[in-house]
Subunit: 273 residues, 2 copies
DNA sequence: GTATCTTGTTCCATTAAACGGAACCATGTT
DNA sequence: AACATGGTTCCGTTTAATGGAACAAGATAC
């Protein structure tokens, strides 16, 4: 039924397959039985079985014996702890997001580039303090989001050239920039002004202003955005926030760089008793 | 220098080794260079190199080319998203923790059993709404925490017999139950009353009451606790909260079970635009 | 400016592990 | 009792991982 969703995961031997299986289990979003996975994977029965067994014994998957179904394991949660802390700007940016959110009352996003997609790392919703994990880990299109365009604009040409062919250019709304040419023109403009707008390009009625987070050497680390609805605000009002946004982005970048050179600090194992 | 921290990670072949390397990278808590890992791992140079290469190409690690150092990759963050949502009770329990916290003004913990250890999944600190990730993923001893004992008490005897020998029975405070016998006596009492106390067994001056989260079939899903200090409150006052705590635990269990049988709902890929 | 060291990468014959077809077992069905 | 269906184990074959050693590339020392 589900069919196998992608033969794409090329294959660094056994490890690649094991991780592919892990992804497939995670993608189900619920405990999944052997036979379901079997149907959704290209692997022969015995192989899949051994792979699952290995992952389970490693704690990457958990086997519910009552229901005889697999789910992501606790080891993954422990790893997540570590990954979240370092793999991303999230922990550094957190207080800055809080401040921006309090100050503007608007929705704040933090994102990083993951291939040709945007990976949201954190979010503040002025009103309800939204569950972080409900947002973190989400992916979205790069060509029609403020954060996406802000990051693309400051990528080296070589990277950009590699990424553009991977994009869908799906026309989410009438305003979506749906060709490489229009996107590139927009990126040039963003480079000039230093910030990007989403003019209802992703969702009707939703607009945002975004700023890239750049290292001192100009490398793209991530992006920040303020989002609102046309019903409540306007592009002009958002534009007025742009300087504050860029300033915050710069502050995050500065901290991120300081953090990279502990050179001696942070020797302790990150995993407490 | 660092020496290799554990030869314990038995070894399901290649996958086991790869995951072991992943753990080691994560444990550093900062970007780490090849040679540092080399020194901290039992693997020969070429092997470690290939392992790192595989993990990197799989997106589980990210290689910063400027600094030529490895850090946990974004794929791990994406997997974390999935793991957190299903592997744990956290998303389901969240609103209940909020309610308990608001109602009691005390610290609230949510934990699951991870082998013979307690894995904290979420926490509420009445005063400052604590960064979730600063707590999630932490592990602690099972024999001298409220949540630990609450869960152990309702485990099938077979599991308990397997787990007890793995415990350290380290005497954290004078009140710590430091032998299997005293622990078992306590567990019997907990089974009788339905809730567990931590009588300064883990940290002096810190007490708590905990209730197990049990499935309708009686399987241990996790535990909930209210923690306070002897300076501010007493065991008696905590005991008065026990019924409310158990009630909440039951409510979480009910939702968790409903969640297990969507059978059709939640088909969408958790990955939004 | 050459020698040397430290750090990271590639080779390749050896060895070990993954593979997968098929047989098998356990439950639940007609 | 015969038969699915879903899951697990066997075992000869195939493929991939291994790791010692040689090799490149910067960084330091001389």
């Amino acid at each position: 039924m589900a069919g196998d969703q992608s033969g794409i995961h090329s294959g660094d031997g056994t490890v690649g397959k094991a991780l592919d299986v892990l992804d497939r289990v995670a993608a189900f979003g619920r405990p999944v039985r052997f036979s379901e996975l079997m149907a959704a994977s290209p692997y022969p029965k015995a192989t899949l079985f051994r792979l699952l067994q290995t992952l389970t014994s490693q704690g990457m998957l958990a086997l519910d014996p009552e229901r005889s179904s697999y789910a992501p394991g606790l080891r993954l949660v422990r790893l997540a702890h570590a990954a979240w802390r370092q793999a991303s700007l999230a922990p550094i940016a957190r207080p800055f997001l809080d401040a921006l959110s309090a100050e503007t009352g608007e929705t704040v996003h933090l994102a990083q580039l993951d291939g040709a997609h945007v990976l949201y790392l954190d979010k503040r919703n002025a009103r309800v303090p939204v569950d972080m994990f409900s947002q973190a880990g989400k992916v979205g299109p790069a060509h029609c989001t403020g954060v996406g365009k802000a990051m693309l604009a400051f990528l080296p040409e070589a990277d950009l050239a590699r990424l553009i062919p991977q994009m869908s250019f799906h026309r989410h709304t009438p305003a979506t920039l749906a060709t490489p040419a229009t996107l590139r023109a927009e990126l040039a403009e963003i480079r000039r002004t230093g910030h990007a707008f989403d003019r209802e390009e992703h969702e009707p009625g939703i607009i945002c202003v975004a700023a890239p987070i750049l290292s001192s050497r100009g490398r793209v680390l991530g992006a920040l955005s303020l989002t609102t609805a046309t019903a409540r605000s306007s592009l002009g009002a958002l534009a007025a926030r742009a300087p504050r946004l860029s300033e915050t982005a710069a502050a995050i970048a500065a901290e991120a760089e300081a953090w990279q050179f502990p050179d001696d600090a942070g020797r302790r194992a990150a995993i407490g008793g």
